[in-house]
Amino acid sequence: GAGVSQSPSNKVTEKGKDVELRCDPISGHTALYWYRQSLGQGLEFLIYFQGNSAPDKSGLPSDRFSAERTGGSVSTLTIQRTQQEDSAVYLCASSLFGNQETQYFGPGTRLLVL
């Protein structure tokens, strides 16, 4: 079946603009994760969804970052008033139930803030 997909693949934006990143998990996977991969910080956890609720938002770096998930499927990560330090690859992963399950990753969105 289809894997995790993310769009756009690449995004260039100007400082101060808002951006939306989309993730389509593997069909039937109830758990969805967002991670950020940057040169300075490595791979960091951002947020976790179980169904449409987000029990763990501990990794969101600031209140400019938010995420939602609708219909237990697609998720959108929104970054408001982007800053240059937001430049990174944003990776989405999904797993069947979330507990003890292997996470499968999408190809990521590379965000560049000018």
């Binding site: 758990a31 994760y33 991670y35 490595g42 791979l43 956890f45 976790y48 179980q50 029990p55 763990d56 990794g59 690859v89 990776l91 992963a93 139930f97 979330g98 507990n99 003890q100 292997t102 996470q103 499968y104 990753f105 999408g106 190809p107 990521g108 590379r110």
Partner: protein, 116 residues
């Protein structure tokens, strides 16, 4: 909090030879999972191998095997008969087996180059 350390930022190996990538971690938990993921230039993180901490037997997947030393908190990856397609970043990752929906904690990665 857990930490994962990969002490080898870069490694190289000749095609068909064997290479071992190191990973150590720090945790106070007793039940957890460890993973090795591969990230080629395409950016897609691909699961290589997974180990449950409660299993003493080391996991193997074809040419990939691990040496899991729980007491030493060490989890190295051995790649046998290296192939050009193994060239990638390799990340070691930790997942707490406790409550649901646990995130992965990653090491800094090892860049592996397989030379012809």
């Amino acid at each position: 909090a857990q930490t994962v350390t990969q002490s080898q930022p870069e490694m190289s190996v000749q095609e068909a030879e064997t290479v071992t990538l190191s990973c150590t971690y720090d945790t106070s938990e007793n039940n957890y999972y460890l993973f090795w993921y591969k990230q080629p230039p395409s950016r897609q993180m691909i699961l290589v191998i997974r180990q449950e901490a409660y299993k003493q037997q080391n996991a193997t997947e074809n040419r990939f095997s691990v040496n899991f030393q729980k007491a030493a908190k060490s989890f190295s990856l051995k790649i046998s008969d290296s192939q050009l397609g193994d060239t990638a970043m390799y990340f070691c990752a930790f997942m707490n087996r406790g409550s649901a929906g646990n995130m992965l904690t990653f090491g800094g990665g090892t860049r592996l180059m397989v030379k012809p």
